[in-house]
C-alpha cells in the first residue's frame, strides 16, 4: 500500500476529501519547491503533485506552459527532481506524485525511472499524454515497486474506455473537469457531478477532479461527488504574484490553505 492509498484510507475514515496541490519543480527555483512542499502539508494539503517541466506541454494552458519554460531555463531535469524529493523525504511523509509528459520518462528509460522514483520516495506517477494502452511497461514496473499509476477520465471518455482506465489506475483516478487544457476558470460545468457519479459506478477507487479549479466555491461543489480536488494553475499564479516577495512560501501556503478548507 503506497502513501497515497494510506492517505485516502485515513481520509475516508474521517469522512474527509483530499486536496491535491500541483507545483512545477524548479519554478521559481528548486529550493522554493522544497519549502513549498513541506509548508503545503502543514497548510492542509493531502497530496502534492510535482510537475516535471517539458518543452512541449500540449495539455497545459498558458500558466503552466510559462511555469514549465521558467523551470527548464533553470536546468531542471528528472535527476534534480529525484534529489529534491529525497531531501523533502527527510522532513515529511506527505504523499508525492510526479506529473510528467511521457517523452522525458521514455528517454530516461522506464525501468530506471521507476527505480529512481522509488528510491527518492515518490508514490505515484501521472502522465497526461500516455493512455493505459501505451503504458503497459510503466504499469508493470510501477506495480513491482508499489508506485501508483494515476490515469485520466474525461467528459468525452466512452463507457468502454472507463473500464480500461479504472482497471489500470491505482492510488486515485484523475477526472478532467472540462474538455480543454489546464488553467484557472471561475465556473464548473453543470453536468460534472452527474458524470463523476456515473464514473463511480465502475470503481471503488478514489476519483479526484482537476483542470480549471481556482476557488473554494468550486472545491466545495466538486467534493459533493468526488473524493478530492486538484489545484494547479491557480497556485502557480499565486507563486508568480509573490515572486519578488520574501514571504512567498507563507503567502502561497495561506492561499492554498483557503482553497483547501
Amino acid at each position: 500500500m503506497s502513501r497515497i492509498d494510506r492517505k485516502f484510507k485515513s481520509l475516508k475514515k474521517e469522512n474527509k476529501k483530499a486536496f491535491i496541490a500541483f507545483i512545477t519543480a524548479g519554478d521559481p527555483d528548486i529550493k522554493t519547491t522544497e519549502e513549498l512542499v513541506v509548508s503545503f502539508e502543514r497548510s492542509g494539503v493531502d497530496i502534492i503533485e510535482i510537475g516535471v517541466p517539458f518543452s512541449d506541454p500540449l495539455a497545459d494552458g498558458p500558466t503552466i506552459q510559462a511555469s514549465s519554460q521558467r523551470a527548464l531555463k533553470k536546468g531542471i531535469n528528472l535527476d534534480k527532481i529525484f534529489e529534491v524529493v529525497k531531501r523533502i523525504r527527510k522532513k515529511t511523509e506527505v504523499p508525492i506524485a510526479l506529473m510528467t509528459y511521457y517523452n522525458p520518462v521514455f528517454y530516461y528509460g522506464e525501468v530506471k525511472f521507476i527505480e529512481k522514483a522509488k528510491e527518492a520516495g515518490i508514490d505515484g506517477i501521472i502522465v497526461p499524454d500516455l493512455p493505459p494502452e501505451e503504458a503497459k511497461v510503466l504499469i508493470k514496473e510501477a506495480k513491482k515497486k508499489d508506485i501508483s499509476t494515476i490515469f485520466f477520465l474525461s467528459p468525452t471518455t466512452s463507457k468502454k474506455r472507463i473500464k480500461i482506465i479504472v482497471e489500470s489506475s491505482s492510488g486515485f483516478i484523475y477526472y478532467v473537469a472540462l474538455t480543454g487544457v489546464t488553467g484557472a476558470r471561475s465556473e464548473i460545468s453543470s453536468d460534472l457531478l452527474v458524470k463523476i457519479k456515473e464514473a463511480k459506478k465502475y470503481t471503488s477507487k478514489p476519483i479526484c477532479v482537476g483542470f480549471g479549479v481556482s476557488n473554494n466555491f468550486q472545491v466545495k461543489k466538486i467534493c459533493k461527488a468526488a473524493d478530492g480536488v486538484i489545484g494547479g494553475s491557480a497556485i502557480i499564479n499565486e507563486i508568480i504574484k509573490n515572486k519578488a516577495k520574501k514571504n512567498l512560501v507563507r503567502n502561497v501556503s495561506s492561499f492554498v490553505h483557503k482553497l483547501a478548507s
Partner: protein, 392 residues
C-alpha cells in the same frame, strides 16, 4: 504482418500518445476511416475532387535537360507542383475534409509550417463551406507572408503562435490544445504522416495516389520500374505518398532527403532520422531531435515545411527495416537545387523540394551506368520567392 498493426504501430514506432480527452474521438475516427476504405461512394467522391478540382492525375515529366546535366540519371519529375494550390498537400486535405463531413464536424483546424498545408486546408474548408482556423508559428508567419494572405483570402482565420520556438512544432502544440478544447465539433486536419493513430496511415492513404499514378505512368513510358525514388522528408507525406505503392517492388530503391540546415554536425538541423533518438511527440513514437533530458530540440531548416524536430513513424520504420535510405541536404545545397531546376527546366521548385533536387547531383556521382529516377516535385516555389530574394 499488417503495417501498421491494429493499434497503429509500425514496428516499435507510431501508436497513440494523447490526452484522454481525445482518445474516444480517435477511436471513432479510426472506425469511420476503416469503414470508408471499402465505401465505393466515398471513393468516387474523393476521386471526383482529386480529378475535377485538384487536377489529378499530375504529369510524370521527363526532365531531359536536367538528365543531360546529371549524365548518369534519367529523371522523371512527378509534377505535384501543378496541383491546385501548388503542392501535394491538397490530396490529403480533400480526403480528410470528406471524413470530417462524414463525422458531422463543423469546424476545421490545422497547423502549418510553410503555409502550403494551411492553404490546402483553407481551400478544402472553403470548398465544403466549413469554418477554418490555421495555427502558424510567428516566425513562419513572417517567412511565408504570401501564404498567410492566401489563407485569409480563402476565409480562414490565421492564428500566429508565439510560444516556444514560434515554428511548426509550437503551431502543432497549439492546434492540439484547440482540439482538446473543441473536440466535440472540431476536426483536426493533420498535414503530414504524423500524429496519433490513425493519422499517419490515413494521410499516407490519401497521398498514396502520388505513387500509384507514378508507377503506372512510368511503366507506360519505360516498360519497367524505376531504379530510384527520391523525395524530401520533413514529416514525410510527399515521400510516403510516393514510396507506398512501390513497397513490394524490392528492386526499386527509395531515398528520403532530410534537411540538415547549417550542417548535420551542428545543432541547427532538421534531420531526426540522421541525428535523432526514439521519442514521443505530437501523438506518436518516432525518431526525434531531443536533449539528453528528453526535451525536444528546436529544429532548423531554410525550408519552413521541413523545419520540424520529428518525422512520421513509418519513415522511422522504413529506415529500421532498411526499406528506404535517408540522406540529407543542407540550406546551401537546397538553394543550389532550386537554382538548378529553375534555370535548366524552367520550373521553380519549393524550397522543401529543392533539398531532394540537390541530392540528385550526389546520386549521379554514386551510380554506375545509366539509372532511372522518379523525383517527387512536391510543390512550387512561388511562396519562397520573397525569402530567396533576400538570400541569393
Amino acid at each position: 504482418m499488417k503495417i501498421p498493426n491494429k493499434t497503429g504501430h509500425f514496428g516499435e514506432f507510431g501508436g497513440r500518445f494523447v490526452p484522454e480527452t481525445l482518445m474516444s474521438m480517435l477511436e471513432d475516427l479510426e472506425k469511420v476511416f476503416n469503414s470508408l476504405k471499402t465505401d465505393k461512394k466515398f471513393k468516387k467522391e474523393f476521386n471526383f475532387y482529386l480529378r475535377e478540382y485538384a487536377g489529378r492525375p499530375t504529369n510524370l515529366y521527363l526532365a531531359e535537360r536536367l538528365s543531360k546535366h546529371l549524365k548518369s540519371l534519367k529523371v522523371y519529375l512527378k509534377r505535384e507542383d501543378l496541383l491546385h494550390t501548388g503542392a501535394h498537400k491538397i490530396n490529403n486535405t480533400l480526403g480528410q475534409i470528406l471524413v470530417a463531413k462524414k463525422m458531422g464536424k463543423t469546424r476545421i483546424i490545422a497547423e502549418t509550417g510553410a503555409g502550403q498545408h494551411g492553404v490546402a486546408t483553407a481551400t478544402a474548408a472553403a470548398l465544403m463551406g466549413l469554418e477554418c482556423e490555421v495555427y502558424m508559428g510567428a516566425e513562419d508567419v513572417r517567412r511565408q507572408a504570401l501564404n498567410v494572405y492566401r489563407m485569409k483570402l480563402l476565409g480562414a482565420k490565421v492564428t500566429s503562435v508565439t510560444s516556444g520556438s514560434k515554428t511548426l512544432k509550437d503551431a502543432m502544440n497549439e492546434t492540439i490544445r484547440d482540439w482538446v478544447t473543441n473536440v466535440n465539433n472540431t476536426f483536426y486536419i493533420i498535414g503530414s504522416v504524423a500524429g496519433p493513430h490513425p493519422y499517419p496511415v490515413m494521410v499516407r492513404d490519401f497521398q498514396s495516389c502520388i505513387g500509384r499514378e507514378s508507377r503506372r505512368q512510368f511503366l507506360a513510358k519505360e516498360g519497367k520500374l524505376p531504379n530510384y525514388l527520391v523525395a524530401c522528408v520533413g514529416g514525410g507525406s510527399n515521400a510516403m505518398g510516393l514510396f507506398h505503392a512501390f513497397f513490394n517492388d524490392k528492386k526499386v530503391k527509395m531515398i528520403g532527403v532530410e534537411a540538415s540546415g547549417l550542417g548535420l554536425n551542428t545543432d541547427k538541423n532538421a534531420a531526426p532520422l540522421a541525428r535523432g533518438n526514439v521519442g514521443v511527440l505530437h501523438g506518436s513514437k518516432s525518431k526525434l531531435l531531443q536533449t539528453k533530458d528528453g526535451q525536444v530540440v528546436i529544429a532548423h531548416s531554410i525550408a519552413a515545411g521541413l523545419d520540424y524536430p520529428g518525422v512520421g513513424p513509418e519513415h522511422s520504420y522504413y529506415k529500421n527495416i532498411g526499406r528506404a535510405e535517408y540522406v540529407s541536404a543542407n540550406d546551401k545545397e537546397a538553394i543550389s537545387g532550386l537554382k538548378l531546376l529553375s534555370e535548366i527546366e524552367g520550373i521553380i521548385p519549393a524550397m522543401e523540394t529543392s533539398h531532394a533536387i540537390s541530392y540528385l547531383e550526389k546520386l549521379a556521382k554514386k551510380v554506375s551506368g545509366k539509372k532511372t529516377v522518379i523525383l517527387c516535385l512536391s510543390g512550387r516555389g512561388d511562396k519562397d520567392v520573397d525569402e530567396i530574394k533576400e538570400i541569393i
